[in-house]
Symmetry: C2
Subunit: 510 residues, 2 copies
């Protein structure tokens, strides 16, 4: 291959850009570790002061990302003559920083600082509000956060809908215009399917989960399956937290958490598989992207597609349990004595409307997301106000799920996201489901023996496909570019609709 | 109290200095957490790349500490007119930064960088060398490190002996001139006392430790004593590592590690008490110094005095075991069935020359330090060369301890310190012993019931004294100022000499 000779000025800009990217990525890696530590390891009394230390480093990353130096480098590197000679990875890095720079450069440093302080305090208020079923405790914070988010939307800029500016933070390129029809189709078909299941009247043996499953044995089982389904334990950890999550430090250090409940064996089981989906994605990223902004998943939606794919398409499949059920039964012989693998499979696919999103089944989960999506969209557009959220929330849950929350704790206060300012985040979850069904269709084309592989425990073959087609690229492609590259078409809700229809027709013999 | 009105220019300098101090301390706190994590938690595959991320932040701290801004602020704040109106804490902070700035400002950034890379690589080489008893594997690195250290000594500057410049890094103000007579007295009396013990021929029942002590039960016992002796578990943690250490994140987050060996119950026991001494010190620092450079112990020597005080003066006392032995016996009824508390006390105070410093008893420990001190001093002065260390080492061990190392692994290669460039560090350990005996004398004056308090488990009263007289001050005073303030005199070797004489006369009935 011919070595390109670059202009000295461009060469210099590239070197500076590489150094700045590396510094920002190094700091972000340390912040990632610190975030994990404070949730999983840090003793109580040091957390308050440590949050200030982490805040200092976080602010530094923000400053570097919107610095005049960054601005000048991005200008130089996007000059058309220069851009033409850059390699694909460098172009992607420039794209990532440019997007953030353009959005954030107009945010005054003190506004960023005030907003950071507000979201820090809001989390405590939210925790108290949720614990005491006291929406009023959280409301003043929520109102201010919504106010900031409306301002940010104006500063970031948008074409059609102010919410687009916020969506774009989590799913670059996504707009209300794209999302509305996708979600409408999914919502309508889900409500219809839910009604059919409920009218059909057939149940599953979900009562088998109303037993105690020893936590120590749950831990053993979770640690047993994790490497088998593809998570590299030498490049990661599994710990315990109240709210499970995955945190990347770098490609060789990806940390998962799960939650063991004696009375709910499903919680840790599917929580671990879900987080493993996130974790394996990051472990598989091309090492050439390490120490750069590309060292991370393409978007929140694509990331969620990988966790939901492993949790649902793989982990809630009949074949998965054909492979793992003997071992599970060996681990819990008493609890599962009279339960066949088929009954177990149906039980883990029980559909039942419930108040809490994170505990929802594969079908009703998306309806929970719709409620949040519609509320956020209207909030940012100024069509509704924060103070009215409890009644709006309850009405929508009733409309879609046919049940009414018995308190704000299990209603509008259940999720942490708004307290840290994550408005625009929720759609990622359903996007993940949509992407994952579209990817499932493609993987089944490439690997017709897909379900056979699962049944034989050949998760390596499946992970190799995911690595080859999705994981390795990190942030090289935008989410839209990636889904087109992988599946040959843009995001299409039909695949998830058909998947859910087919799956539950079988489970519930519709 | 009258509010001082400061010149606007001074006021401005103070605010900038405070912000810079806070930023450096915040970053250092994060680096502390990261160092702990990489030793205790991080999975194998991510460590190499993470070391680069941590290095970036470490370099940033170095740059901030020797930045022109720092230089100007220090100049402004040390102008005599300004200095006169500063409060005690600010003066101490200025002193701390000025010391580092003056020493380090002349070190070129690329020299710092090259040296950092070298010590990073040297650690791996040392680990291999030690594992394979192959001094030649480590020698080229050690030679380069010695060369750097000789250069640093010249850059830092010194009055009498080049080694003074390195000592000062760990114990501000300490010189060969001060140390030589202190160490000579301690060495001579220790060698004499050792000879008397060996001639006397009386043994202890140290063979009771040649049994298996279940690790799980050791853990229970260690976790049982830790809060009783004063360590706040809500402001800290206890984990496991091969090499025990204490790491501070902030005053509310101090992390200890220990090592459990089935065949060596003493290792974890006294390791935990030792590290708790370090940890309690940091937990007790005045919260007003938090987020500043004062948020840390006065020096390595003073720090070691607190760990050695708790480990030896408290933890190896007869009264300590009068209090804790029933519980220990309850934990290990089989192993300790026929062992009286008096026999146990004597057994944990067995004197026996051995090759490994970290396993040495209270008496021979200092002789191990002398060997290292004399070697380092001669190395830096250019009187000996690194290649000759194995034979010099073995000769000195023979001279002081009467035994000859059977390999370099248990000889010159046993310690990690030189591989990270810590030449000048070792004397801190014996300084700690010297300080601790002097402090013991004083605490017994203030609390005549000192040993009674231990026997009654009233560690709170002892910790209150330590907090009040030593711990709370953090880095407010230099080590010399502190020991004078606490005990009324400068460091004096007589106290340790007398303490050892008295203790072992009793244990060995000399």
């Amino acid at each position: 291959m011919e070595q390109k000779v670059l202009e000295p000025k461009l060469q210099q800009a590239l070197e500076k850009f590489k150094a700045l990217d590396e510094k920002i990525t190094h700091y972000s890696s340390i912040i990632g570790l610190a975030d994990w530590d404070q949730k999983v390891m840090a003793p109580k009394k040091g957390r308050h002061v440590f949050a200030k230390a982490a805040g200092t480093l976080r602010t530094e990353v923000f400053k570097l990302s919107v610095s005049p130096e960054m601005g000048e480098l991005l200008t130089t590197l996007t000059l058309s003559a220069n851009s033409a000679v850059l390699d694909e990875a460098t172009k992607a890095k420039v794209r990532e920083y440019k997007t953030f720079y353009e959005k954030s450069k107009s945010i005054p440093a003190d506004m960023f600082q005030d907003y950071s302080v507000l979201t820090g305090q809001a989390n405590d208020a939210w925790e108290e509000a949720r614990a005491n079923n006291d929406f009023g405790r959280f409301l003043p914070y929520l109102e201010k956060i919504v106010e900031y988010k409306r301002k940010f939307a104006e500063i970031y800029g948008y074409e059609d809908h102010p919410y687009d500016a916020l969506l774009d933070e989590f799913e670059p390129g996504l707009t209300v215009k794209i999302l509305d029809p996708l979600f409408a189709k999914l919502r309508e078909s889900s409500v219809r399917l839910l009604n059919r299941i409920q009218k059909n009247g057939k149940g599953t043996r979900s009562e088998i989960f109303n037993q105690a499953f020893e936590v120590e044995k749950q831990k053993q089982f979770n640690r047993y399956i994790l490497p088998i389904i593809g998570f590299d334990m030498e490049a990661g950890r599994l710990d315990e937290t109240v709210h499970p999550f995955a945190q990347t430090v770098n490609i060789g250090d990806v940390r998962l958490t799960t939650r063991y409940l004696k009375q709910n064996v499903r919680s840790a089981l599917f929580g671990t598989i879900h987080e493993a989906g996130h974790g394996i994605y990051e472990q598989h990223i091309n090492p050439e992207y390490e120490e750069s902004v590309l060292q991370s998943g393409a978007s929140f939606g694509i990331h969620e597609s990988q966790s939901r794919f492993l949790e649902n398409m793989v982990g809630r499949s009949k074949e998965f349990w054909n492979y793992f059920y003997p071992k599970l039964k060996e681990t819990f012989p008493g609890q599962l004595a009279n339960v066949s693998v088929d009954e177990f499979y149906r039980a883990v696919n029980t559909v039942e409307p419930s108040f809490i999103r994170v505990e929802a089944d594969e079908l009703t989960y998306n309806l929970h997301i719709m409620v949040r999506y519609e509320i956020e969209k209207a909030l940012i557009a100024g069509e509704i106000e924060a103070k009215d959220l409890p009644s709006i929330w309850n009405q929508k849950i009733e409309d879609y799920l046919g049940i009414t929350p018995t308190s704000d704790t299990v209603g509008v206060l259940q999720d942490v996201h708004w307290s840290f300012g994550g408005i625009g985040y929720f759609p990622s979850y359903s996007l993940g489901n949509l992407y994952s069904a579209q990817i499932l269709r493609k993987i089944q084309k490439d690997l017709p023996e897909f379900h056979q592989l699962i049944e034989n425990g050949r998760f390596d073959a499946i992970q190799d496909w995911l690595k080859e087609n999705i994981h390795q690229y990190g942030k090289l492609y935008t989410p839209n570019e990636l889904i087109v590259k992988v599946t040959g078409e843009e995001l299409n809700a039909d695949y998830l609709v058909q998947y859910l229809e087919k799956k539950y027709s079988a489970v519930y013999e519709l």
